[in-house]
Symmetry: C2
DNA sequence: GTCATCATGTAAGCCGTTACATGATTGC
DNA sequence: GCAATCATGTAACGGCTTACATGATGAC
């Protein structure tokens, strides 16, 4: 899962490890910070598998050209969150390889093991890389598993042996699932209206 | 966390391991089934620590009395979910010890490491064992951490580099946190109205 | 020159899972 | 008797965390 998320970030542009953490948090659904103790080994694995590689950054190139085009260096740093010129040399900037792009596409579309909410949120945050029909498939699968979950949750909530607090917890769980389903439904509606716009009547 | 949940179940009545799993799912907030590979070792640990012990069940007692009071045996089995007389002998029924009750009270009230939603839900499902002020404290602590989380989530959702899908994920996360806060607020309101009822004006 | 922050990495441990192995009880 | 379920356990592994160790860079 971490690997998929990292590949997803690298689809957009190159990142170094320290930066990956912040983006996993605020661009993909992952709530809290993933620790570096997970991120660096994951990057090392991905590199060993040939899915990512250490990029020769334009910043590095420029610095070897001594006082060469300063505007070029600025441009390469503009996309980084940190202030220009900060810690350039000690960074290892990773870029995704063609094989990495293939593997990413495969992993993202793979319907296996996408059970929990965290995993789904992360996939959805990367959904722009999915074909429209794969996106609808992902949403429908999620919807059906949420509906099953809703049935269970309602059953648990209706257990009359529960005290006030336990019942409230169960009822809140039901509400949470209902909110999730409503969200999925708005996303599905958007997908379908887009499909209609792209493929108007064929008669 | 598992230990706390199991102790919480045993506060109510004795359970055997196989049965614990279903109750963790449908009486406490734990969504999916916890595997037996976690439950049995946890019970063994609790027994080693003297917090639970294997109960001499009334069913066992009665069966040694050969054809003794059948109504007594029925009564002891009535509380079990399974049909009467099923697999009685191969069960190991656990009961909580006095030290286990102490430890449970201590763990449940302990404000340390109650960060995530799962943990909080489980504690809340056991809140009937908390003193009213401890309950309010737990709720307020949860509320404040959710408010912090809400601020972060809103910030992430307002990042204008996000595409449609990623933004939708972030906005849905905000809605989820808002729902959680609303829930906490209803619980807090209930707690306060109860306190007023129990301690009306002191003049 | 020193401190905060940025940056990378390793090792140990936690807490859960899956897979495996075994056996009792009961319905048919 | 045989299959389904109930019931208990162990072993290996997974994925993440915390704690630790190290060093570069830039602000002051």
């Amino acid at each position: 899962m971490l690997e998929l998320a990292i590949l997803g970030l690298l689809m957009d542009r190159d990142h170094h490890g320290y930066e990956v953490r912040a983006h996993l948090r605020d661009r993909l659904g992952l709530g809290a910070n993933i620790s570096f103790g997970s991120i660096y080994p994951a990057l090392a694995r991905l590199e060993r598998e040939g899915l990512v590689e250490v990029a020769v950054t334009s910043a590095t190139k420029v610095s070897t050209l001594s006082t060469g085009s300063l505007s070029g260096e600025r441009a390469s740093l503009r996309s980084l969150r940190v202030t220009p010129g900060l810690n350039r040399k000690s960074r290892k900037v990773y870029q995704i390889t063609p094989r990495g792009r293939e593997e990413f596409a495969h992993l993202l579309a793979d319907p296996a093991t996408l059970n929990d909410g965290k995993n789904f949120s992360m996939r959805m945050a990367l959904a722009k890389y999915l074909a429209p029909n794969a996106r609808v498939g992902l949403l429908e699968q999620r919807r059906s598993s949420l509906c099953a979950r809703l049935g269970e949750a309602r059953q648990y909530a209706s257990n009359d042996e529960l005290d006030t607090y336990a019942r409230s917890v169960m009822e809140h769980a039901v509400q949470g699932v209902e909110l999730d389903i409503a969200w999925i439904d708005t996303l599905l509606a958007t997908e379908r209206s887009n499909q209609i716009n792209l493929a108007p009547e064929a008669n």
